[in-house]
């Protein structure tokens, strides 16, 4: 009997989880509601595709471009932002999400990730697993776009279509003093490619007068180097040594491209040079590295790294030290703590705005998708997160994650964080309320299962800081 009850509760749970994306095949609260939905669906099919409107209202909107619009509305049409502002007219048939008293941010972008799209190495369009738990956990952390194998991917739950946003916009180069021959090779490749491009432009110019002039030969020109110099691909380096960083800055300035530098631990010591080279830095503020004691110069890691780089004009992107979902070892250093990692950059002096950019628009630029994601602007994908506080605060939890105008994660509907500072029942989705009714006095779904999960009546976070790891 108890078992049967449990199954029923589970069924209802699954319903609550599914209900946002698709009308359930069997509604529990009467035929009428379901019938209405069905009618709507069939109508939609008849008069072709009806526009799908979605609005997040009343929240403090941090657009990611520097503006904060208090109590504003974000309106999405077919998954694309139609308007952001205060006097936005929301169509009557729009689905709405009330974010009053909450903060709305652009969906976070993780430049590197691992395992969020299933246990697959490539060919994401043919192998993405949109049901896996790591994707759901990442959405619960606010991530809506992630890079894997230098490919930009959208975290689309229960959907395998249009997951790949852009492939191979980044090209990883090995350019370090520990591999001198590799270094020399790249210099030669860039040299040859630059020469070819000059010849080509010259030919294009001269061709106007001399129609039969021969096109310069592109044989022996490295396609990656050429693409980098043409700006079609970004060169990505992995370097943390001062010497390596300087070499990269020089290379980039000599050939005229903007390098992306992973690691960049000693970047703060050569920030001016990197800034002049227009570099992007992908940093992990909590990376620790000792100074080489025999050298007089500055070295080693600094918590100020991100801030100093930023002040020198380097665009900073933040990524945690582990790019997969890792629940072992030291908690709080995996991909689920992307905003916490950015919070450490703030601790080192980076401004809130630059820190927000370091996990939104900057990684979007590096993945070549900043025209679609990374900030809340008209024309971009409606990927946003609703939080109960500052996105980089350790206490804030993502309440909703919206991907392309659809709720992909609702804290109260999933198992992970629903029991931590539970939402008051009148703010729960109707499905979740119904769930609660079925299991009577249990506050959140299945809270009776684990004794330690009992929520307090009125949580006093300032008295009792959350010392448990978020993924605990």
């Amino acid at each position: 009997m108890k078992l049967a009850h449990r199954f029923r509760a589970l069924g209802a749970l699954a319903l609550a989880a599914l209900s946002f994306l698709a009308p359930p095949a069997f509604a529990q609260d009467g035929e009428k509601k379901e019938g209405d939905k069905k009618d709507e669906a069939s109508k939609d099919k008849k008069d072709e595709k009806k526009d799908e409107w979605f609005a997040v209202t009343g929240g403090d909107v941090y657009t990611g471009t520097g503006a904060v619009l208090r109590g504003a509305t974000v309106l999405s049409k077919n998954g694309v932002i139609e308007a952001v502002g205060h006097d936005v007219e929301v169509p009557a048939d729009a689905k709405t999400l009330d974010a009053t008293g909450q903060r709305v941010y652009p969906g976070l972008v993780a430049i590197n990730s691992n395992g969020l799209f299933g246990m697959t190495a490539g060919d994401f369009a043919d192998s993405v697993d949109p049901y896996n738990q790591r994707m759901l956990l990442a959405l619960a952390s606010g991530i809506t776009t992630a890079g894997q194998s230098n490919t930009a991917l959208k975290l689309k739950r229960r959907d395998i279509k249009n997951v790949v946003l852009r492939e191979r916009f980044l090209a990883t180069l090995s350019f370090t003093n520990s591999n001198p021959s590799g270094k020399r090779e790249w210099i030669e490749k860039f040299d040859r490619a630059a020469r070819f491009l000059r010849e080509y432009r010259d030919w294009e110019e001269k061709k106007r007068e001399q129609k039969d002039l021969k096109e310069p030969s592109s044989s022996g020109v490295d396609s990656t180097a050429k693409a980098i110099l043409e700006g079609r691909v970004m060169a990505r380096f992995n370097a943390s040594n001062r010497e390596d960083l300087l070499e990269i800055a020089r290379l980039a300035q000599r050939f005229g491209f903007r390098p992306v530098i992973d690691g960049c631990v000693e970047g703060w010591t050569v920030a001016d040079e990197l800034g002049r080279a227009g570099a992007y830095a992908v940093v992990t503020p909590r990376d620790r590295r000792d100074k080489e004691e025999q050298l007089v110069r500055d070295g080693g890691s600094s918590i100020e790294n991100a801030a100093i780089l930023h002040h020198s004009g380097v665009q900073v992107c933040v990524i945690p030290s582990t790019t997969g979902v890792d629940l072992g070892g030291i908690a709080g250093r995996d991909i689920l703590h992307l905003p916490i990692e950015a919070g450490f950059a703030v601790r080192g002096g980076l401004s809130d705005q630059a820190a927000l950019e370091s996990i939104t628009i900057v990684p979007a630029r590096l993945l070549g998708v900043s025209h679609k994601v990374g900030s809340l602007e008209k024309g971009k994908d409606c990927d946003l997160i609703v939080l109960d506080g500052d996105v980089m605060h350790y206490q804030s939890l993502v309440q909703y994650t919206v991907v392309e105008g659809k709720i992909a994660y609702d804290k109260s509907a999933e198992l992970f964080y629903a029991h931590i500072r539970p939402r008051p029942s009148d703010q729960l989705a109707p499905e979740a309320r119904q769930d609660k009714g079925e299991s009577d006095e249990k506050p959140a779904e299945g809270a009776g299962e684990t004794p330690g999960d009992k929520p307090e009546e009125s949580p006093k976070p300032e008295d009792k800081p959350e010392d448990k790891p978020k993924d605990g």
């Binding site: 599914l18 993405v128 299945g446």
Partner: protein
């Protein structure tokens, strides 16, 4: 008589074992689980020539017909295990071999067959091992001295092993290209044939043929002398044409929700009729797509096993959930062993205890697996005209204490204390 025997030996699927019983037999039991309809109390089953002649409650039995009476027993259709490798080697390959069959490997008189038959399994579906398109499965009776005696249907279903990866999707695309290529070939041959037959003024059916993109078979009927014979398909393509034309079933093996999504994506606009083989794992996430699967009324071959919500210890009854969503459930033993074949009813009984409907459970061990083998018209339930594959029990099929008392295969008792 001799002639009859010869015929029966040639076509063993339709008749008796080694010698036809020749006469009627009336079986009287306390209860018959018909599977197709409601259970019958005080059931009488008339068996003749290996088939059920009549079934009903308290049917009058004419004098002279031998009566087998067991008022305490329950009878149900013999169990069908539609997805097994019993008695054959388990090694799998990676070749693309849709034309392959497991029957050459079968060793008649393998002890496993005798043991599962005694446990009540009267029909088995042997599948070809391997990934991709390893071949087609065959339906057999676990009884007989030769392969011919065992064989019920050589071509039961095409096995497809599909996982969400680029290689598997490419393979599906390649197959589709091959089928299209063949269709193109047939179309060209048809055009050529039409042209030639048009050239002869005697042909009356010119008009019809012009607008005829219809199937060549139809033409064959009205125009026997100059019938169009479509070019023979490549043996590696033929099974897919058979599947498309509904001659061959298809069983697609998947292990997670993503596999389903990618399979649907790869075959979306094809109107395919297929069953699913769902490999039950502890934390299977297939409940994510149960409504989609249910909406299409897909038949699912799965183990009677409780799974967990991923990352938790919360139990789920996937079979019950899928069934509630509209899918049909065909159970296979938890492990492909004799012991789990024997424990099949008990394991399914556990699923009933966890919320599965009893009718679904009953069908899940008889009629549904028979349907996977495309044998649902011939066996899998107690109905007039169906093969007399009977399983006699001393109580409710799903009670743990119930024991198998006797087994009848094609009208013959093959195990149990049945001497009067």
């Amino acid at each position: 008589m001799t002639i009859l025997t010869t015929i029966l030996t040639l076509a063993p699927a339709f008749g008796g074992v080694s010698e036809p019983s020749g006469g009627l037999l009336a079986i009287k039991v306390g209860r018959a689980e018909t599977v197709s309809g409601a259970a019958i109390e005080h059931a009488v089953i008339l068996v003749d020539d290996g088939k059920i002649l009549e079934i009903g409650a308290d049917l009058p039995v004419a004098r002279g017909i031998p009566v087998f009476e067991r008022p305490d027993w329950v009878v149900m259709p013999g169990l069908v295990s539609c997805y097994t490798r019993l008695g054959v080697d388990g090694r799998a390959g990676q070749e693309f071999s849709p034309e392959a069959s497991p029957t050459p490997e079968v060793q008649p008189r393998h002890p496993d067959y005798k043991e599962v038959l005694e446990a009540g399994v009267t029909t088995i579906g042997l599948y070809p091992p391997g990934t991709g398109f390893p071949g087609h499965a065959s339906a057999l009776r676990p009884h007989g001295a030769t392969l011919a005696e065992m064989l019920v249907d050589e071509d039961a279903y095409l096995k497809v092993y599909f996982r969400a990866n680029a290689q598997a999707k490419k393979q599906v695309r390649d197959v589709r290209a091959k089928v299209d290529e063949h269709d193109e070939k047939v179309k060209k041959a048809k055009e050529k044939f039409d042209k030639e037959s048009k050239a002869k003024p005697s042909d009356k059916k010119d008009e019809e043929k012009k607008d005829g993109e219809a199937k060549p078979e139809e033409k064959k009927a009205d125009d026997k002398s100059k019938a169009f014979v479509p070019p023979e398909a490549d043996p590696k393509t033929k099974p897919f044409l058979q599947v498309r034309d509904g001659e061959l079933g298809m069983l697609v093996s998947i292990a997670q929700a993503a596999d389903w999504a990618h399979w649907v994506d790869a075959t979306s606009e094809l109107k395919l009729d297929f069953s699913l083989r769902v490999v039950m794992t502890r934390e299977i996430d297939l409940f994510e797509v149960k409504d989609e699967i249910g909406k299409r009324g897909v038949r699912v071959v799965m183990e009677p096993q409780i799974s967990l919500v991923p990352g938790t210890m919360r139990q789920r009854n996937l079979a019950a959930e899928l069934s509630a969503s509209g899918a049909k459930i065909a159970f296979k033993p938890r492990n492909d062993t004799v012991a789990d074949h024997a424990a099949m009813l008990r394991h399914v009984g556990e699923m009933i205890g966890a919320g599965l409907a009893r009718e679904v459970a009953l069908k899940g061990v008889t009629l549904e697996p028979a349907a996977v083998l495309k044998l649902e018209k011939r066996l899998g339930s107690l109905e007039k005209g169906k093969v007399a594959n009977l399983l006699f029990l001393n109580g409710d099929p799903f009670e743990p204490s119930t024991q198998v008392m006797a087994v009848m295969l094609d009208g013959e008792f093959v195990s149990g204390e049945v001497k009067e």
